[in-house]
């Protein structure tokens, strides 16, 4: 049975249809890439799943429970965590506090030493555990990205939505980032990742979903999709093999 299911989801902003009747499902433990040129509706779709935006029509379910129509905090507690395309850290809090939050306010409602332990574990996974008491405002860009991932992990989610989490990293950081995400999939978490870096998509995702102008144009094995004439046409001018 599928874990996350997107059924005929549509999002309109006035006259613009940003997501147009998109349907697909994710099985538990899968890691799927969400591709498409800029403006194709990938981030909007992520926002619809996380509840950041309400859908215009359609239905999204997690393990059979309806997510559409619920608030972001309810969806978070139901087991969906995400990172943001433009990194969003909490600058006035320490690293440990940043990461502790979803553990404290999530489904399991940890508090005190327990919450700290969850935060410390998540920080360790991304390699920031030695700076737990530092203020988040002092982190470099790559470390802010790590921190955001640690925060999503501390939610102990069933589904993790990554919105271009690997963007803006240099080659060695990218290799580290790919290894980090691969490590996560071994733990059984289900991941939907928006990504432009084909190297990462090839390395991590056996299956991809491709969007163009709000519509789903391909949902197939990665190798097939990258040679699919429709997909290549959508990326027009961008080298798919880059």
């Amino acid at each position: 049975m599928s874990l996350l299911s997107i059924e005929s989801v549509t999002k309109r902003f006035g006259g613009l249809t940003a997501v147009d009747d998109v349907s697909f499902t994710l099985d538990a433990g899968e890691i799927v890439g969400l591709l498409g040129p800029n403006g194709s509706g990938k981030t909007t779709l992520i926002n619809l799943v996380s509840g950041n935006l309400p859908v215009s029509s359609g239905r999204i379910t997690l393990a059979g429970a309806t997510l559409t129509g619920r608030r972001p905090d309810q969806i978070a507690r139901a087991g969906v965590a995400r990172t943001f395309q433009l990194v969003r850290i909490l600058p006035s809090l320490t690293l440990s506090e940043n990461v502790m939050i979803p553990a404290v306010f999530g489904a399991k409602a940890h508090w005190g030493a327990e919450a700290l332990a969850v935060a410390q574990d998540a920080l360790k996974q991304v390699g920031l555990d030695d700076r737990a008491d530092m203020s988040a405002s002092r982190l470099s860009y790559i470390d802010q990205k790590r921190l955001e991932l640690a925060r999503a992990l501390a939610a102990e989610p069933q589904v993790l939505l990554l919105d271009e989490w690997l963007a803006g990293l240099n080659p060695s950081e990218l290799a580290e980032g790919i290894a980090l995400i691969r490590g996560l999939t071994d733990s059984g978490i289900t991941i939907l990742m928006v990504e432009h870096i084909m190297e990462a998509v090839r390395a991590l995702c056996p299956r991809v979903i491709v969007m163009n102008s709000g519509q789903l144009i391909a949902d197939e094995a990665t190798e097939t999709a990258l040679t699919d004439p429709q997909v290549i046409a959508a990326y027009l001018g961008e080298s798919v093999d880059a």
């Binding site: 608030r71 978070a76 909490l90 809090l93 939050i101 404290v104 306010f105 925060r151």
Partner: protein
């Protein structure tokens, strides 16, 4: 040692009426009232950074409830009713406005105080036919002082409790980034509402306790927007997100304004404005944070 400091301070303040003149006691009441107002204001606004200018809407309502009910009901009951009315008002206002962000919230809260004032004026003129009311209560200045001091202590105690509780963490996250807060599982509306109602209830109660000092009450007197502005400046000066920040800002500023309003009655609002600007530019996080920064720099310099 540091743990007992607040208790010692409280006892010193509690004993102060025996050592000062009537005029001195009046000043002490004013100072403690502003400590309460600034601390209660910061209870909601300190961490969430929702700058509320509605302080006087609640404070004035508290005073007006006493003015209306003081001849018909026992004093204790009047205070309870005032607190309940304040809480109910905050609930209604909160439900309809806490979705507003930034400057819209500031403007709304400023308008709220004016709205309440105009509504009461309209009601008094058209329905009851009087504008002013008298408060003749058998409450001495000392009793008012002790009640206000107790309320201040409760406010600071409650703030300390919230800081250590998950509600405090939730408010800090909301102050930093509401989108992240929601996506981490924090129910935004409920969290903000809870803090706003707690803060407003205390503000209303402070108005009710202070009201017998006025004797004569009318809307233009009790809904004076200067109270709202002073409260904000005091809390920001001390550091609105610190436990003792609002109190440390309130005491010196209260005495400074008292001195200025006596000695420079005409230019006093200018000084007030300049001070507001200075606080925002020079000490955006308050004196306490400023001192910490200086200390850190000095330490680094020494090492």
């Amino acid at each position: 040692m540091r743990r007992y400091l607040p208790i010692v301070g409280f006892l010193v303040f509690a004993a102060a009426p025996f050592a000062v003149s009537d005029y001195g006691l009046g000043l002490l009441i004013g100072a403690v009232t502003y400590v309460t107002l600034a601390s209660a204001w910061a209870l909601f606004s300190g961490h969430t950074r929702y700058i509320s200018l509605a302080t006087v809407a609640f404070y004035g309502t508290g005073a007006y409830v006493v003015a209306v009910l003081n001849e018909t009901l026992p004093y204790g009951l009047v205070l309870i009713i005032a607190a309940l009315i304040g809480a109910l008002m905050a609930l209604l206002v909160g439900l309809s406005t806490l979705r507003l962000a930034g400057v819209y919230f500031v403007i709304f809260t400023f308008g709220l105080a004016e709205l309440v004032r105009q509504l009461i004026t309209w009601y008094e003129v058209n329905v009851t036919g009087t504008l002013g009311r008298y408060i003749f209560l058998d409450v001495t200045a000392r009793e008012i002082y002790w009640q206000m001091l107790a309320l201040a202590a409760v406010t600071i105690g409650l703030t300390a409790f919230i800081h250590r509780h998950r509600l405090g963490l939730a408010l800090r996250v909301i102050g930093d980034d509401e989108v992240v807060a929601a996506h981490a599982g924090i129910p935004l509306a409920r969290t903000k509402l809870l803090a706003f109602v707690a803060s407003a209830t205390i503000l209303t109660l402070a108005g009710a306790i202070a009201s017998p000092r006025w004797v004569y009450v009318e809307p233009a007197i009790v809904f004076n927007s200067t109270v709202s502005f002073l409260t904000v400046i005091m809390a920001l000066l001390g550091g609105a997100n610190r436990l003792w920040g609002p109190a440390l800002g309130a005491v010196p500023l209260f005495f400074a304004f008292e001195y200025l309003s006596v000695n420079l009655p005409n230019t006093y609002p200018i000084v007030l404005g300049l001070l507001f600007i200075a606080v925002v530019f020079v000490l955006p996080d308050g004196v306490l944070a400023g001192i910490e920064k200086l200390r850190a720099r000095w330490k680094r310099g020494a090492a």
